[in-house]
């Protein structure tokens, strides 16, 4: 008899939700770009992880978070927090 597996909670896509439930990396990339920590060219330039890490550090320093350069939970929480739409870096 197969073991009964615990059911994972179902997460669905809600229609009309402007910010759909993105992956963490997608969220971070969007956030870092939107608020001026990451330039479009830096993403397409192929810097990959290194580029994101340095932008993350910049963001963490600016927002008073621990500078890990990692997409850790306090950083993700900060990215999901309600805030002003004016960029932090640049005009």
């Amino acid at each position: 008899v197969p073991l009964q597996q615990e059911q994972a909670p179902v997460v669905i896509s809600f229609p009309g939700e402007l910010v759909s439930q993105r992956s963490d990396v997608e969220l971070a990339t969007h956030y870092l770009q939107h608020f001026g920590y990451l330039k479009e060219s830096e993403i397409s330039g192929g810097g990959g992880q290194v580029t994101l890490a340095s932008a993350l550090k910049k963001m963490q320093q600016r927002l008073g978070l621990k500078e890990t350069g990692q997409l850790d939970s306090p950083t993700l929480d900060a990215m999901r927090a309600p805030r002003c739409g004016v960029p932090d870096v640049g005009s």
Binding site: P9, V10, V11, I12, F14, P15, G16, E17, L18, V19, Q21, F35, Q61, R62, L63, G64, E67, A78, R80, A81, P82, R83, C84, G85, V86, D88, S91
Partner: protein, 592 residues
């Protein structure tokens, strides 16, 4: 704090504003009051005045909108981006402040429901309230046959009988062209009949209705106020939860977070989500329009985001019940506009320890201390001092004993030498124990202790490794080792270019190294070699982000970096986080 590139600011102080539209979430009078209070936050500490104009050209246009609302910077539905504003200028949107109307706008602690008619003179609903023995936390239509939602304005309707009617389209509309007339249902729009408010015919999601039975004919309309029980965001904002509803074949009789990974509560706005897919977020505490507006108006006046978490201009929203403008915000706005004649800025932060009352003015020759003031016992802390071989300071004569460090308007230089903080000004210096609440000693004559020095010392520090004392004045520097002195020599000898007119301050970096600052750049000095390291200068704000680049005093004190511009000091941890902005006099010197 930060200002926009080029220090954008208004060229006049009598700023005008106009409220172009209103949110359905709050009564217009509450919105106007929130904006007025938000402007007052800034006018209290500057010479700025703010006048609301109904028409004509104004400096700051305020509007609510959703998603793309005409400026190319779309909002993103509920939560996330709350608002934005443009810096001062002469462009189309300059100074304007926009608020995302997919948010639930409140005063930060849940629905603010103003009542109409009834017998409570427009008082706010009191939640919860008791009606016929049952507790209500929202407006209700119970007890009425006309479907009008109402609430009690005290804790118990049963006892006090005071009540009013809650915002609903059955009572009034706002904006539009009907002077607040209520909706007429059913009404006809483009040949179709409507029994409730609709978003049809609009791209901004606002719910509207006709105020006659035929819009096609009369063109009379208004916007529907948000009921306190309405949902936000989703695909049916402004509508109400329908309980019970079915979701993935389960029945729900209350808001749920099922189906979501973010834990937000939602409900269906029809009885069957699986079929109709209509939903929205359940009412929550909402965002304080006052706090968000005060932040946005900071942008409208020329402030960028601050990196101080407690500052109003920090980019994240945080509700605070007892709002006070942070000293960083005050410093920022006064940098642009100067100080005003309003109430004294800024209010002391809660994390600042309260000064003990009645600590007497420090005089170097006063032997008696209050019982709670630690008495100075070490030689180094005595009034008379000169430089010892190990860099300790002994023997000098007090001058002008009535001169009070707390009354000095900005110091030339500040530095910690061994266990004392030294403050230099015009040929004199004061010193204060770096630990505890000891009194300030001085003034003492600089030349009595260090005869080779000029009256004005711009910066000073003691190297921990060599015990050398470095003093800087203009483009010259002196090095004291005990009573031996070398100097004056040009700072060019250190490897600093000749176009640097002075050193503003110094931070010791471990043993044998120190950072010398001039405006937006700094050098690392090797104290033993008496040369700056290769690769310098570097840009100050690359590492020391969030401190003023025109700091007058830069020094290490109690293990933390301090960047001071009279009267404020930005304190930074060795991890380069600004953890406090306070006053040099009150927070560091502990002046009464």
């Amino acid at each position: 704090f930060q200002t926009f590139q080029g220090d954008l600011k208004w060229d006049h102080t009598d700023i005008t504003y106009q409220v172009l539209n209103y949110s359905p979430d709050l009564d217009a009078s509450i919105i106007e009051d929130a904006f007025q209070r938000a402007f007052k936050v800034w006018s209290d500490v500057t010479p700025l005045t703010f006048t609301r104009k109904e028409r004509g050209k104004v400096d700051i246009e305020i509007r609510f909108g959703t998603e793309e609302h005409g400026d190319g910077y779309p909002f993103d539905g509920k939560d996330g981006l709350l608002a934005h504003a443009f810096p001062p200028g002469k462009d189309r949107f300059s100074g304007d402040a926009h608020f995302d109307d997919d948010e639930s706008w409140t005063l930060g602690t849940g629905s603010v429901v103003k009542t109409y008619y009834g017998n409570a003179n427009g008082a706010l609903c009191h939640f919860p309230y008791i009606f016929e023995g049952k507790s209500y936390s929202t407006c209700t239509t119970d007890g009425r046959s006309d479907g009008l939602p109402w609430c009690a304005t005290t804790a118990s309707f049963d006892q006090d009988k005071t009540y009013g009617f809650c915002p609903s389209e059955l009572l009034y509309t706002f904006d539009g062209n009907s002077d607040g007339a209520k909706c007429v249902f059913p009404f006809v729009f483009e040949g179709k009949s409507y029994d409730g408010c609709t978003t049809e015919g609009r791209t901004d999601g606002y719910r509207w209705c006709a105020t006659t039975d035929n819009f096609d004919q009369d063109k009379k309309y208004g916007f529907c106020p948000t009921r306190d029980t309405a949902v936000f965001g989703g695909n049916s904002p402004g509508e109400e939860c329908v309980f019970p509803f079915t979701f993935l074949r389960q029945t729900y009789s209350a808001c749920t977070s099922e189906g979501r990974s973010d834990g937000k509560l939602w409900c269906a706005t029809t009885s069957d989500y699986d079929t109709d897919k209509k939903w929205g977020f359940c009412p929550d505490k909402g965002y304080s329009l006052f706090l968000v507006a005060a932040h946005e108006f900071g942008h409208s006046l020329g402030l960028e985001h601050s990196s101080i978490q407690d500052a109003l201009m920090y980019p994240m929203y945080r509700y605070v019940a007892d709002f006070h403008l942070h000293s960083d915000d005050v410093a920022g706005i006064q940098f642009l506009y100067g100080s005003g004649t309003g109430p004294s800025p800024p209010t002391r932060r809660p994390d600042v320890p309260t000064r003990r009352p009645n600590v007497p003015t420090q005089r170097p020759d006063v032997p008696t201390q209050r019982p709670d003031v630690p008495t100075q016992t070490t030689t180094e802390a005595d009034d008379t001092s000169t430089s010892g071989e190990d860099g300790s300071v002994t023997e000098s004569t007090p001058v002008e004993p009535t001169s009070d460090a707390c009354k000095v308007q900005g110091f030339d230089a500040v530095t910690q030498i061994k266990k004392e903080l030294y403050l230099f000004k015009n040929g004199q210096y004061w010193k204060k124990p770096a630990a505890g609440m000891g009194p300030i000693k001085g003034p003492l004559r600089i030349q009595d202790t260090w005869p080779a020095l000029p009256d004005v010392v711009d910066a000073a520090f003691q190297d921990k490794l060599t015990k050398k004392l470095f003093f800087f004045s203009g483009q010259r520097f002196w090095v004291y080792q005990g009573t031996r002195v070398l100097g004056p020599r040009s700072i060019e000898k250190l490897g600093i270019s000749r176009d640097v007119p002075k050193i503003f301050g110094v931070l010791q970096k471990g043993r044998g190294k120190a950072l010398l600052f001039h405006e937006d750049k700094y050098w690392r000095l090797d104290a033993k070699a008496e040369r700056v390291d290769q690769g310098y200068p570097k840009r100050t704000d690359d590492v020391f982000s969030g401190v003023p680049l025109d700091s007058q005093n830069i020094f290490l004190y109690q293990g933390k970096y301090h960047f001071c511009r009279n009267p404020f000091c930005w304190r930074m941890t060795p991890q380069y986080q600004v953890d406090k902005v306070g006053y040099l006099k009150y927070d560091i010197l502990e002046c009464p």
